[in-house]
C-alpha cells in the first residue's frame, strides 16, 4: 500500500520532475553544474579566442574575398579612409540596358563621367586591375583614359574610341557590367578555367590558358600517389615497430621520428643535395659506372622530385597511426588463424590486415590532406611540372596579387577536402579513425 502511494506521483509527473523543495529538476541540475561549466569554459577560453582570431576569422575573410572584390565599385583612400563609390553612372546605364546591348553614346558619356571620378580619386589603376583580372591588357586602357578624362568632349563614343579602339570590345563591356557589382562568382569560374562570353553564358577559356583544372587534377593525382607510396613503405616498418621487443622498437621509433623533428626546409634541401644533377645519387651511379656522365638522371625540378621528397617527409604521418593500431593486436590472432589452417598470406589478408584498417584510414587521410595543401617542398624541388595547386595560390597571393582568385582556389581546395572527408566518413566512418 505504501509502495503504491510513493509510485503514483512519480509516474504521473515523469515529464516534470522536481527536487525536494519543488524546484524543477532540470533547472536545479543546471544550477548545480553551472559553476563547473563556467570554470571549464574559462579554461578553454584562451584557446577559443586564439582559434577564432587566428583561424576562423581569416578563413571567413578569405572565403568572403573569393566572392567579393570592390575594385571597380568602391575606392577607399588609404590615408583618410574616405570611401568613394566608383562607376556609378555606368552602373545606372547597365541597369537600364539588358545584357548584350551595344554600348551607345549614353554609355560612353557615363563612362566619361566615371573616368573623371577615377582621375580625381586616383583609382584608375585599381579599377583597371579589376577588369584586367578577367581581360588581360585592359589595365592600361583605364589609366590612359583616366589621364585624359578632362579633355574628353562629346560625342564621347568617338572621343573614347579615338583613345583606344578596344573600348568598343563587347567582352570589355561584359566584364565591366559584372564588375560594377562587388559580389561576383567570376573568380570561381576563373579558378575552374571558365569565363563568361559576351552574352553572359559560361564557356571554357582558350586551351592555352587552361591551367587550374589541370593543376587540381595533378594535385589530386600526386597526392593519391604519395599517399599510396607512404602506405606501401610505412606498413612493413610499422609492423616491425609493433612486433619488435620494446628496447629495439624504441630505437627504430627514434629513427622514424628523427626526420620529423628536423626542419622541413632542411629536409627538403637535403633532398635537393641528393637528387640534383650533380648530386649524391647521380654521382654515385656515375661513379659505379651504372650511368653515363652525360645521361645524368633528372630527378629534381620535376614531378619525381616532388613525389620522392614529399613521400619521405610525410612518411611518419603514416607510420605513427599504423603503429598505434598494430601494437595492441595480439599475435595470437594470427597464430589462431594459422592453427585453423590458413596460410600465412591468408592469415595476413583475412585476420591481420582488416584489424589495421582504422590505422590505414587515419594515416591515408592525414597524408592525403597534408599533401593536397603542401607548398614548400613542391616550390623548392618541383620545378615547372611538379607544382601543386597551393603553389599557384601562393603565386596569386604574392606575385599577381589577385587575392580573390587565390581565395577562390583555396576555397575550392577546402571544399574538395571536405567532400573527401565526408566520403571517408560515409565509407569507413570517422569514429574508426585512430590517430595515435
Amino acid at each position: 500500500m505504501s509502495d503504491a502511494s510513493l509510485d503514483a506521483p512519480l509516474a504521473g509527473q515523469s515529464s516534470a520532475l522536481t527536487t525536494a523543495n519543488g524546484q524543477p529538476l532540470k533547472q536545479a541540475l543546471m544550477h548545480a553544474q553551472a559553476h563547473a561549466k563556467r570554470r571549464a569554459f574559462y579554461l578553454v577560453a584562451p584557446l577559443l579566442a586564439f582559434i577564432v582570431i587566428t583561424f576562423i576569422v581569416p578563413i571567413g575573410q578569405m572565403l568572403h574575398r573569393s566572392v567579393y572584390n570592390p575594385g571597380f565599385s568602391l575606392h577607399t583612400n588609404v590615408s583618410t579612409g574616405v570611401e568613394t563609390p566608383l562607376m556609378t553612372n555606368l552602373k545606372v546605364w547597365f541597369k537600364e540596358n539588358p545584357d548584350g546591348t551595344e554600348p551607345d553614346e549614353a554609355a560612353f558619356a557615363a563612362l566619361a563621367k566615371d573616368l573623371l571620378v577615377l582621375r580625381e580619386v586616383k583609382a584608375a589603376g585599381q579599377a583597371g586591375t579589376r577588369i584586367n583580372y578577367e581581360l588581360s591588357g585592359s589595365r592600361s586602357m583605364f589609366t590612359k583614359a583616366a589621364r585624359r578624362a578632362k579633355r574628353l568632349e562629346p560625342p564621347y563614343k568617338e572621343a573614347i574610341l579615338d583613345l583606344d579602339k578596344d573600348w568598343s570590345d563587347p567582352a570589355l563591356w561584359r566584364v565591366m557590367r559584372d564588375a560594377t557589382s562587388p559580389y561576383t562568382m567570376n573568380f570561381y569560374l576563373a579558378a575552374l578555367d571558365r569565363t563568361k562570353d559576351e552574352t553572359g553564358s559560361v564557356t571554357k577559356v582558350p586551351e592555352n590558358r587552361q591551367v587550374y583544372v589541370k593543376l587540381f587534377q595533378r594535385t589530386l593525382f600526386l597526392s593519391i600517389l604519395i599517399t599510396f607510396l607512404c602506405f606501401v613503405l610505412a606498413y612493413p616498418v610499422a609492423h616491425l615497430l609493433a612486433t619488435l621487443p620494446l628496447s629495439k622498437s624504441n630505437l627504430l621509433m627514434i629513427l622514424v621520428l628523427l626526420p620529423f623533428w628536423t626542419s622541413l626546409l632542411v629536409r627538403t634541401t637535403s633532398w635537393m643535395v641528393l637528387l640534383q644533377g650533380q648530386g649524391v645519387v647521380n654521382d654515385t651511379l656515375v661513379g659505379m659506372g651504372l650511368l653515363d656522365d652525360g645521361n645524368r638522371l633528372q630527378m629534381m625540378y620535376n614531378q619525381l622530385g616532388t613525389v620522392i621528397s614529399m613521400t619521405h617527409i610525410l612518411l611518419p604521418f603514416m607510420i605513427l597511426p599504423l603503429y598505434s593500431v598494430m601494437r595492441p593486436i595480439n599475435p595470437s590472432y594470427v597464430r589462431a588463424a594459422r592453427s585453423l589452417g590458413a596460410t600465412s598470406w591468408t592469415a595476413f589478408r583475412r585476420i591481420y590486415f582488416p584489424q589495421t584498417l582504422p590505422g590505414i584510414g587515419a594515416g591515408a587521410l592525414l597524408v592525403f590532406i597534408l599533401s593536397v595543401g603542401y607548398y614548400i617542398t613542391p616550390a623548392l624541388v618541383g620545378g615547372a611540372d611538379g607544382q601543386l595547386i597551393s603553389n599557384l595560390i601562393a603565386f596569386h597571393m604574392q606575385q599577381s596579387l589577385n587575392w580573390s582568385l587565390a581565395a577562390a582556389l583555396a576555397a575550392l581546395l577546402l571544399g574538395g577536402i571536405l567532400i573527401l572527408y565526408w566520403l571517408y566518413d560515409r565509407l569507413v566512418g570517422i569514429d574508426n579513425l585512430k590517430l595515435g
Binding site: 595470437s332 592453427s339 585453423l340 589452417g341 596460410t343
Partner: protein, 366 residues
C-alpha cells in the same frame, strides 16, 4: 616414414630440446608419448617449458633439437596450417572483426568447403557448445565464458584429431571454470579427440586429465595419472607442487623392501616408503599429505613409529578441521581431519602423538 617406437603412439616427443637465445635450454631433453584419445595435461609453474612444448607441437616454435612426430610422421618441417591441429588460446583469440559464425566458418573456408557444408558444420559446432543462437554476434558482445565456448567450438569445428589448449580457463571466475572443466572433458571424451592441455592450476590438471606431465626446469618431473601423481609422487618437486604437503628432513637409517626407517634431524625415527632413496645414510625429505596424518591411536597401525607434536593453531573450515602443528622443528606441519561426528577439536598448546600408515609417507630426494 619415420619409424615409431610405439605403435600406439599418436603424438611423440623424442629428445626434444629448445633454446631461444642459444645460451639456456628452456626445454631439456623432452620425451613424451601420447596414445590416441588421451587427455594429457602439461602442468608446471610459469617458465617451466610447458607452453613452449605446446607451441612446438602447434608449429609456432621450432625445436632446436629432436623430433616431434604426429601419427608416426615427423612434423618438424610442416608449417602450422598443414598440421591440422585445433588450438584454444589463453585469450581465446576470437577474430574481433568477424561474427561468431564467421569465426567458426573460417577454418572451413580455408579448407575450401562448400557453403552448405560450412553452415551445417558451424551450426553443429555451435549447438555442441550450447551457443546455437549466438552466430550473428560479435566476440566483444559475449561474456568470457561464452567466448571460451566459441573458442572451443572453433578449434573443434574442422574435426581435428588433436586439440591443444593453452590455459584456456585462466581468465574465468572459479564457478565458471569448474563448469567448463567438466564440459571440456565431456566433449573430449564424446568426440574421442586427443587433447594436450596446458595449465598451472593443479586442480584443473587433476580433475580433467587421463595423465598429467608435471614440468619443472625444462624437464618432465613425473608423468602419471592424477591419483598416482598425488598419492605417489616420485620426487620432492612433484610432492610439493601437487596438493598440500608436509615435509620433514632427515637421514635414511635402514631400507628393507617397501619400508624405510628415517631418522629426522631432531633424532626421532619414522616409517616411510622409499621412493627415490636407495641406501642407508642418504639424506632425504619425507613427504606426507595433511589428510593422511592421524593422531587417534586406533588409526595408527601397531608398531608404527609416532612423533610428538604440539598444537599451534586450530582452524575450523566447515567440512574439515585444519590443525597446524609443530613437528620435529617444522612449525608448518598441517593435519587435516574430516568433520566427522565426535571428532575432537584440539586446543592450541596441547601435546599429541601423531602417526600414519608407512605407505602414505614417501621418502624422496632431499
Amino acid at each position: 616414414m619415420a619409424e615409431t617406437t610405439n605403435p600406439n603412439a599418436f603424438v611423440e616427443f623424442e629428445h626434444v630440446q629448445k633454446s631461444y637465445d642459444g645460451e639456456t635450454l628452456v626445454v631439456k631433453d623432452l620425451n613424451l608419448t601420447l596414445p590416441k584419445g588421451e587427455f594429457l595435461t602439461m602442468l608446471g609453474p610459469s617458465g617451466s617449458g610447458k607452453t613452449t612444448c605446446l607451441m612446438m607441437l602447434a608449429g609456432f616454435e621450432t625445436a632446436t633439437h629432436g623430433d616431434i612426430r604426429l601419427d608416426g610422421v615427423s612434423i618438424n618441417n610442416i608449417p602450422p596450417h598443414k598440421r591440422g591441429i585445433g588450438m584454444v588460446f589463453q585469450n581465446y583469440a576470437l577474430f574481433p572483426h568477424m561474427t561468431i559464425a564467421e569465426n567458426l566458418s573460417f577454418p572451413l573456408e580455408v579448407r575450401k568447403m562448400g557453403k552448405s557444408i560450412r553452415e551445417a558444420k558451424v551450426k553443429r559446432a555451435l549447438d555442441m557448445v550450447e551457443m546455437g543462437h549466438f552466430g550473428s554476434r560479435r566476440p566483444a558482445q559475449l561474456s568470457g565464458g561464452q567466448q571460451q565456448r566459441i573458442a572451443l567450438a572453433r578449434a573443434l569445428v574442422f574435426e581435428p584429431e588433436l586439440v591443444l589448449m593453452d590455459e584456456p580457463l585462466g581468465a574465468l571466475d572459479k564457478q565458471l571454470r569448474e563448469k567448463m572443466q567438466f564440459e571440456i572433458t565431456r566433449l573430449a571424451h564424446d568426440l574421442g579427440i586427443t587433447v594436450v592441455y596446458v595449465t598451472h592450476d593443479q586442480t584443473e590438471a587433476l580433475t580433467m586429465s587421463d595423465r598429467v606431465a608435471v614440468f619443472n626446469d625444462g624437464r618432465i618431473q613425473q608423468l602419471a595419472p592424477p591419483d598416482q601423481l598425488y598419492e605417489a609422487p616420485t620426487n620432492n618437486f612433484v610432492a610439493q607442487f601437487i596438493g598440500e604437503n608436509n615435509t620433514l628432513a632427515g637421514v635414511v637409517k635402514n631400507i628393507s623392501g617397501e619400508r624405510a626407517i628415517v631418522q629426522l634431524d631432531n633424532g626421532e625415527l619414522i616409517d616411510a616408503k622409499p621412493v627415490n632413496v636407495t641406501q642407508a645414510g642418504e639424506r632425504t625429505r619425507v613427504s606426507i599429505r595433511p589428510e593422511r596424518v592421524e593422531y587417534r591411536k586406533d588409526r595408527i597401525p601397531d608398531g608404527a613409529h609416532t612423533l610428538t607434536a604440539e598444537v599451534k593453531e586450530f582452524i575450523y573450515m566447515g567440512d574439515t578441521f585444519r590443525t597446524r602443528l609443530s613437528v620435529a622443528g617444522n612449525d608448518d606441519f598441517v593435519m587435516k581431519s574430516r568433520n566427522a561426528p565426535g571428532q575432537e577439536r584440539l586446543t592450541p598448546g596441547s601435546q599429541i602423538q601423531i602417526g600414519w600408515m608407512p605407505q602414505d609417507c614417501h621418502a624422496l630426494d632431499a
